[in-house]
Symmetry: C2
Subunit: 348 residues, 2 copies
Amino acid sequence: MKEKRKISIKDISKKLGISTTTISFIINGKAENRISKEVIKKVEDYIEKVGYKPNSTAQTLRTGKSKTIVFMAEDISDPFFSAIAKEMEEIAFENSYKIIYCSTENKKERALELLTLFKDRQVDAFIITPPEDFKNEMEELIKENKQVVMVFDRYYDDFEHNYVVLDNLDSSIRATRYLLNNGFQNVGFVGLKSDISTTQERLHGYQQVMAENAKKERSVLVSFDEVKTPTGKKKIYEFISRNPQIDSLLFATNSLAITGLKLLKEMGLKIPEDISVLTFDDRDLFELYSPPISVISQPVSHLANELIEGTLNLLEEDLKPNSRFQKVLKGKLVERTSSQRISENNAI
Amino acid sequence: MKEKRKISIKDISKKLGISTTTISFIINGKAENRISKEVIKKVEDYIEKVGYKPNSTAQTLRTGKSKTIVFMAEDISDPFFSAIAKEMEEIAFENSYKIIYCSTENKKERALELLTLFKDRQVDAFIITPPEDFKNEMEELIKENKQVVMVFDRYYDDFEHNYVVLDNLDSSIRATRYLLNNGFQNVGFVGLKSDISTTQERLHGYQQVMAENAKKERSVLVSFDEVKTPTGKKKIYEFISRNPQIDSLLFATNSLAITGLKLLKEMGLKIPEDISVLTFDDRDLFELYSPPISVISQPVSHLANELIEGTLNLLEEDLKPNSRFQKVLKGKLVERTSSQRISENNAI
DNA sequence: ACGTTTTACTAAATCGATTTAGTAAAACGT
DNA sequence: ACGTTTTACTAAATCGATTTAGTAAAACGT
């Protein structure tokens, strides 16, 4: 089978005896008040007939716009990030943007590698979940002002930038208060060892409420790499063993909670009778678990919409350095059985 | 802050008084036996010094290779596909390929839209999970031979193509035999209503084993869109109600199983005492469930590796139309409590 | 000693679009 | 009636690489 070469604007130009300039104007909707209706019709009909589509690489080379957005997630296989990816995808495609994904694994070196890779390529925008210890790199990237940069799931205090995040402080405060109000006296916190705003705020919200209520704060911090490993589980185990008075656990992420639930099961602790559980980030798992696990759920759809629409808006404004897109959304406390107080007489 | 324009090969040419031809040869490793060592050194040193990186868009325009692979998943937010995406990503980047993702939602129209979108753009390869009723479009795409096309998670009998799939027939046969061997007399099958090879083979494997053992086949097929809806759950409910003799359920996908587990819980049926459960596709949920759910797990890492390495190999061979990459991997039966036969005396 | 081959390069074309800087003819204004 | 503006276009430059088709000088062969 003979390969037929793709048709170019030059071919059309020759075929119709019309300059490429004119054709380009027509394609790009700049023909109004410049080109006669007859010529417009002739060109449009021909384009329709042969199914011509401009070569996007050539357009990118000439205009510097690639219609490409890089989504640098912490981990694209994490249900939270893949759900966000899915929602963003649709809106991006509707606006003829494509999305390239990658995962930092919360590792600085990997993020840097990916960033250098994409800075060289033409990319219009970055949606980034910056890893640990990446503030300087992010600040530099943003100051360069070559692409739209949207920060997701965390943010920085020290400089101006676009971001979409959950109100983690507020969520954590509400979560902790809720557990105390349910009558749990000794709420423990299982968090990530991290300087990222997200985990910091979740810890601080908990600490703040415990302090307000003159309760002793008890927390354990697991590092990102350990969460899914025996080491991580062991850390939580030791935390619980050392603090037998704990009657309730607030987990800062869903991965921590999953490790925690495995552990509690192994330890033979009953939820919520022996220890109640509440975690950040919903997953279908949690609703189905026995007992169903209470969560602070992030508004995934809303977050994804703000992320992609904010990014597209900024792209349209064409990098005006002073317009900022900053959204802080509220979490939703979903009460299920795992955080319920079982009254003493019922428990027996 | 003044934006400094990116340096081009022409700038280097002017600066060093060396033609762009020579520089291009050096950059692309074609300098051997052509260009003197001194010039090579001079150019390489300068490139190193100013940190020059060729503009990839220009390269794409000239060479026709974009170093881009499109991963068209059924649904990128599905844990199976996002796990595959994650594993492929790393290898792709190591080989300086980038991946654009999209989801067909198993809808023909959407897949067609996405395909037309990407066929116009320069894309080197497609990794596609074709939706329902998309055979002709796939055959055409493959025959055009413009990009490497890798089919994933399903395949076609009628024409030659590259694919990576699970041995679904074998897996289903083993799964059904296993349930019968465990003493379950009436195994029911909950599948997808679909002409895709994957779901067809899973059904046929079940039917084959039931026939071999002179057992009555009982199955319900739910359409893709209904799986996560009340309608889907209702269909399974009616199936179970109409067939009270069923003592074991084989689910063809993890989404079906999740809907099924919710239903069994609502119906108050005990697993595995009242009804045993086995499902395709592992998820962390299943291990943690009470009781832990037995699964036929797909070798995700292995699949992803074959997919991306197969694709990269085919890309290197530069579209030789006759070389085919076809891998059929075995599933792994993971026995957990949900499929165990509880002996009568223990049951009481 | 002189034709041929090899070495070490370069000028210009090319990929396929957009954009700048123009022009000829028609219409307008007074 | 004649200069000016508007209309409707086009030629050529440009984005930044790679590649084709060459060439001048050195080395080689007999």
